[in-house]
């Protein structure tokens, strides 16, 4: 749900940015409205988007914000006002949620690196004026936590492919799903062979802790499940031809124990 909320938020803000008139109707879904309000959705939704039956006020959210250790409400990733504590806050929530894991200290270290790299990528690569977002939620009954980082840029592969045409034509010829796996396996970057270690490092750490990685690109979604050989194309579930949402939307799922 967390990643869906963050993706929906990015989509609505993108449509608004493209001067579309956007109305989101919760007339028969008040529960969803309540949940989205609780996680701070409407605080960062463009004010131009109309919400039915009524846009919630921010007072309730502000009152509860930060009080539930199982939730880190949607955080704005604003390149003009870098929030230096964001990876730390998310990591602390992960540490709290996974305190029963014997490897919680190592997990916290790995989670901080993953979040630091992903959020830094939003600042550095997303090439958009729109804010990115991050959120985290613990699902005790599902024995997992999800941490989602989302931006409204061109998308990971869209910026990578043109550079690969010159740097590595063989890689450029790969299908999207295969190329995406290589991004996390080898560490590919449009800035050349010296770069790209961030995403690879994230994937290596996520694999070490058995995390699943869900990547939504503008028209595709790939779910990577780690096996003995890490993330591989034959353990990836791919959905293509999806409705257009610009950006790179990543979600890691960790087990709680």
């Amino acid at each position: 749900m967390t990643e869906a909320a963050v993706r929906l938020l990015s989509l609505l803000n993108q449509l608004d940015h493209a001067t579309r008139r956007v109305i989101i109707d919760f007339e028969h879904n008040e529960d969803v409205l309540g949940y989205l309000n609780r996680i701070g959705f409407f605080e960062v939704l463009s004010p131009n988007v109309s919400v039915l039956p009524k846009r919630p006020t921010a007072a309730k959210v502000r009152h509860y914000r930060g009080r539930n250790p199982n939730l880190v409400e949607i955080q704005r990733i604003d390149r003009n006002h870098r929030d230096g504590d964001l990876p730390k806050r998310l990591t602390e929530a992960i540490g709290h949620a996974c305190e029963n894991r014997p490897d919680v200290v190592e997990l916290e270290g790995a989670a901080w690196t993953i979040l630091a790299e992903l959020i830094d990528n939003v600042f550095a690569h997303s090439q958009t004026q729109l804010d990115g977002f991050a959120a985290l939620q613990v699902y005790p009954n599902g024995n997992c936590l999800k941490v989602a980082v989302s931006d409204s840029g061109l998308g990971l592969l869209k910026t990578l492919r043109p550079a690969l045409q010159n740097q590595a034509p063989k890689l450029a010829a790969l299908r999207d799903i295969e190329l995406l796996v290589e991004v996390f396996k080898q560490g590919l970057s449009r800035h050349g062979a010296d770069r790209g270690c961030g995403l690879k490092g994230c994937a290596d750490k996520a694999i070490k802790f058995g995390a699943e990685l869900d990547v939504r690109l503008p028209q595709e979604r790939v779910l990577l499940v780690s096996g003995n050989a890490g993330y591989t194309p034959n353990r990836a579930f791919c959905y293509s031809g999806l409705p257009l949402i610009w950006g790179t939307h990543l979600c890691f799922t960790f087990k709680l124990d």
């Binding site: 230096g84 630091a116 062979a193 270690c197 490092g201």
Partner: protein
Amino acid sequence: MNQIPAVDLRLREFMDANEGWGREAGRLTFQRLMSFVEQHPGALVFRVSLAGVRRVDISFASETIVQLARRYRGGKGFCFVDLIDIDQRENFEAAAQRAKQPLLLWNRQGKPEVLGVEPSQGIADALKFALIKPKARAAEYANSSENVSLTNASTKFKQLWEQGFLLRCEAAAPSGGVEYVYFSAK
């Protein structure tokens, strides 16, 4: 030169916070580090301490110590003296690997470990030889093994120097000429 001139470098003193996050912060820190290195023109070895550094991500590691070691490769060496945090170690290793820049780490037992790049099979033995000595000459290595000629030993040491595993300086040879003395960042 009897003593290799070495300087302690506490990374935390060049950072704005105890967490090193992101490329931009890394580049800023790198500028400060470089200025520090330039203030010590005589120093050949910089002993990097991570005391007070809580975390570093891979991008930050890549833009700071790894970039510094790469920039001064062959002229100055950088080694870690207290890199014990697993996550920080993994991140420096990942960054060094990507930059193909070896970095030495001295563990608690005073034993060296190489991060980032494994020496090729042909030069691994020469590196092992050099790492256990304060200084090593090609002639000493050639004498230590029946299968290694003096020329061969010189070539291996030169490769290790070019690839960033070792440093070197000129010294008077026993024969009266000049030869290279190789040493590690320690």
